[in-house]
């Protein structure tokens, strides 16, 4: 079946086929829409052959942050976003907890910490819950209700993964300190699920799961969307502008470059959905300035690119005397504690931090990060103890600030003539307070779990970029409404963590998947009118 639209105008154009874009492709093609998806990276259609079990193979799956201009002390270009069909879900570690109700009510609960621009989310957890249920079902999340969760929470689609040896030590260590733990919810099959096999514990999740035990959006969502015959997927296709040709309140399509030939194309769509990550989305909007929007698309109130924030990622390592087979198993969250997801006596800042165990083959990360002060035999002897190491990571909640933002540098152009992004990110006092508390807790837990030598990486590095196109009811303080629909441009939508108002202390992908489902449903139910209005 042809996937090109009869009159040359697609029902929807999706920019970026990562974690969020894949959800839109799946939902809209299922509803009968004719969709064009443009993805900067390649497609890996046969994971068993295309992926290799080697840590270096991860790099081709990651978005390259090195071209950005950086200002401030908070952004170290840590790669945490994807490149290619499936985006970050190819290399992710699949930890998938839900946000808490309190996370969405940050301003009401904590006020506005100094320097921050926190607001409440313009939707409640109850509104998001059906989409969370569905997102977990699509991803096949394995887990068990944690002591922090509501008793009415729906069962996970899969039972929890078994604990690894290192997780048992950490669990007992936490228990000694009165900290509760549970198996982390992971989008990794603990048993065969919907045609995908169980995890084989190979330890190479970051390099792409060869057997699709881990949720990877290209296989789970994009392949069925292609099978409908209604998805026109173009890879190595870089979108350089969102086009607005007729009026300032509707977009008409996009300009994109075919990277193999450097040919430029224009594509027309009744709806455009931009899902190309929290740095590239505002960059694209700012680079799409036009006569109607001279300061950048939808940027009349100078909100595009603002309120950027990340999690602070602190890594802890404790060497024990025991053989733990640390290198074996899925990468993160075999054990998790969310006891510190809220401020408390031990975490005086506003917001909280999570604790997650690490396993698998990330030895290079250990040498690069917590052992970075070692060299020579001191380093090598420690690395030989890798399989006796307890590894623990914490994500601390970072807060948005109006001054932490993405702008474009018109004096620095990429090879397609587009201004590159400038990332301005200076950590707030509250961010530092949360990550210091997380570091102290990591140390305590590692000692209590039987470590004889402990290293905690400080200062923390950033993880999970968020914000920049935030949702809100007030168009002067946000870019989109609660459905990710851009204020004032009713056929332009956003997907991804750029919509987040605040970011909790848990990884973002389950939540951005749930939000994308919510927006897609809204489009399908309300969008008939949008399509007719073209």
């Amino acid at each position: 079946m042809s996937s090109s639209p009869p009159e040359g105008v697609y029902d929807a154009i999706i920019v970026g086929m990562g974690a969020a874009g894949s959800v839109f492709a799946h939902e809209l093609t299922k509803a009968g829409w004719q969709v064009l998806a443009l993805e900067r990276g390649p497609r890996y259609p046969r994971h068993l052959k295309d992926f290799t079990e080697n840590d270096m193979s991860m790099w081709r799956l990651l978005w390259d942050n090195s071209p950005y201009q950086v200002e401030g002390n908070g952004f170290h270009r840590t790669p945490d976003l994807g490149l290619g069909v499936g985006g970050g879900t190819l290399s992710w570690l699949a930890v998938s907890p839900r946000f808490f109700e309190g996370d969405l009510r940050f301003r009401s609960r904590h006020g506005r910490p100094v320097g921050s621009s926190v607001e409440d989310w313009p939707l409640s957890l109850a509104e998001l819950e059906p989409c969370y249920d569905e997102a977990e079902a699509q991803m096949g999340v394995s887990g068990q209700r944690g002591p922090w969760e509501s008793e009415t929470r729906r069962e996970f689609p899969n039972p929890p993964m078994g604990y690894y040896k290192s997780s048992l030590l950490l669990r007992d260590g936490m228990a000694r300190l009165g900290i509760r733990s549970a198996p982390g919810p992971v989008a990794i099959n603990s048993k065969p699920y919907q045609g995908r096999g169980p995890c084989l514990n190979c330890g190479y999740c970051r390099s792409g799961c060869r057997v699709d035990a881990k949720y990877q959006a290209d296989q789970v969502l994009v392949a069925p969307a292609l099978a409908t015959g209604r998805l026109d997927l173009r890879t190595e296709a870089l979108v350089t502008r969102v086009e607005m040709l007729r009026t300032g309140t509707r977009v008409d399509g996009v300009t994109w470059v075919e990277l193999r030939t450097h040919r430029e194309h224009r594509a027309f769509g009744k709806v455009v959905i931009v899902c190309n990550n929290p740095i590239e989305t505002p960059r694209l909007f700012l680079n799409s300035a036009n006569a109607f929007h001279p300061h950048g698309l939808a940027n009349a109130h100078d909100q595009v690119g603002r309120h950027f924030f990340c999690h602070s990622r602190t890594l802890g390592l404790g060497f024990t005397e025991q053989e733990l087979e640390t290198s074996v198993g899925h990468g993160m969250g075999n054990l998790m504690s969310l006891d510190f997801h809220e401020s408390g006596p031990e975490q005086p800042g506003s917001g909280g931090f999570s604790l997650l165990s690490l396993n698998g083959t990330g030895a290079s990360l250990l040498a690069a990060e917590p052992l970075r002060h070692y060299m020579g035999s001191g380093l090598k002897e420690r690395m030989k103890q890798y399989n006796k190491a307890l590894l623990l990571v914490s994500f601390g909640e970072g807060l948005p600030s109006p001054e932490n933002r993405i702008t474009v540098d018109r004096s620095k152009l990429d090879s397609h003539g587009q201004p590159i992004a400038r990332v301005s990110y200076t950590l707030l006092e509250n961010d530092l307070c949360v990550s210091r508390a997380a570091g102290r807790k990591l140390e305590e837990v590692l000692w209590a779990s039987g470590a004889r030598e402990v290293h905690v990486l400080t200062p923390a590095l950033e993880a999970h970029p968020m914000g920049t196109m935030r949702m809100g009811a007030n168009s002067r303080l946000s870019v989109t409404n609660p459905y990710g629909q851009v204020h004032g441009i009713d056929n332009l939508f956003i997907g991804g963590a750029s919509l987040f108002v605040t970011g909790s202390c848990v990884p973002p992908t389950l939540t951005l998947h749930a939000l994308a489902l919510r927006t897609a449903r809204h489009l399908v139910h309300q969008g008939g009118a949008l399509l007719r209005r073209h």
């Binding site: 079990e53 840590d55 270096m56 995890c199 330890g203 074996v328 035999s377």
Partner: protein, 142 residues
Amino acid sequence: MTNPSQRLSPADYETVDALAATLLPSDDTPGAADTPVVPMIIGILKGHPEQLELFRSALARINGLARGTYGDELARLPPPSREALIGSLSARQEFHPFWPMFRTLLMLCFYSIPKVCRSIGLPGPSIDQGGLLPGTRGEESA
């Protein structure tokens, strides 16, 4: 043709070799000198002219420091002086962002080389043999 200024000179190459071998010496397990880690790093830099330039100027400054402090290029210093000099780089602001970037790149490349992985007990590829199920888990389940 590659612009010569976009390549590392043989002297730069020697300095990178010396840095790598000091950070990761050979012992009963492979060290940097027993692996292709330096060509791997140089290969990665080739796609990033700005990074390559950062490397070239930092390597020149390292050798300047080596000559000023110990009277010779880094690669020709005796091991104790080499170690002392390299040990001081992370604290010197003038070697940022080169030093953290170089060290990270070196570790990421080195600890992904199969014989290095084996030497520290990483299992290596296993999926084609059915993965790592038996004996890899704790006795209890969650």
